[in-house]
Amino acid sequence: MAELVIFVLFGVIAIAGALTMVLHPNPVYGALGLMATMLSIAVFYVVNSGHFIAAVQVVVYAGAVMTLFLFVIMMIGVDRAESLEERLPLQRQLAIGLGVVFLILIGLIGGNAWITAPEAAAAPNGTVENIADLLFTDWLLPFEVTTLLLIIASVGAVALAQFDARRRGGEE
């Protein structure tokens, strides 16, 4: 019963936040809506016994990533309200139509075969210890590759900024 209450409450918050993100003309409101969605998803992780993942979700997504987003939104300028008018003919109707069709298709497929596996007796316990057990044994190679990915990403970000500054200096 408690899980049902949590599911309905945070499900409504998650969907409302997502809709705010898509529909609100001001990107700052959208970013805050998305933050609400991510926090409610973190609650769902806790309910599904993903304790470590929930903490990472709050710290990395709702904390770091959304702060970076807000930083860039502020930098690019929130004062100019984006015009929501659509320049391509039929784009908006087609997009909404395709979204509805997509949802119906997922519902039809899922309604017939949501999950075929039988429910396990015990839910996994996603503590730091258990996750680390998997991460540093079965998933060690992918884990090491992600370090490479992160280095490339940070070097790429610096290179993009440098490249732009150098060309700007050359033009002036």
């Binding site: 997502a18 993100m21 898509v22 992780y45 309910v47 909404i96 899922g110 396990a120 990915l149 993009l160």
Partner: protein, 101 residues
């Protein structure tokens, strides 16, 4: 009434469709980027829900990796966006038509 994994899958599907629609409906590059993040989160939710249903912890490890990739993607994407904004002072993807033949 028990909340089974199917409920979370349905919620994840709804969030994913909202994200995909946002991608198609909006013309602000930042909002489109946030729609991608929403879709990634929706898929993460399904991973965790299925992982709990089957009693398998590998789903949560997959979520961990998705988060790493998303963080790297955000860093590079926002850097590109700022570089574009410096030259064109607009965040609308409609204005990016340089490669238009």
């Amino acid at each position: 009434m028990d909340v089974t994994a199917g409920w979370y899958l349905a919620l994840g599907a709804v969030l994913f469709v909202i994200g995909a629609s946002g991608m198609l409906l909006r013309r602000n590059a930042l909002v489109m980027f946030m729609s991608i993040e929403l879709m990634l989160n929706a898929v993460n939710l399904t991973f965790v829900a299925i992982g709990r249903h089957t009693g398998d912890l590998n789903g949560q490890v997959a979520v961990f990796f998705v988060m790493v990739v998303a963080a790297a993607e955000v860093v590079v994407g926002l850097a590109i966006m700022i570089a574009v904004f410096r030259r064109r002072s607009s965040a609308s993807v409609d204005d990016l038509a340089v490669l238009n033949g």
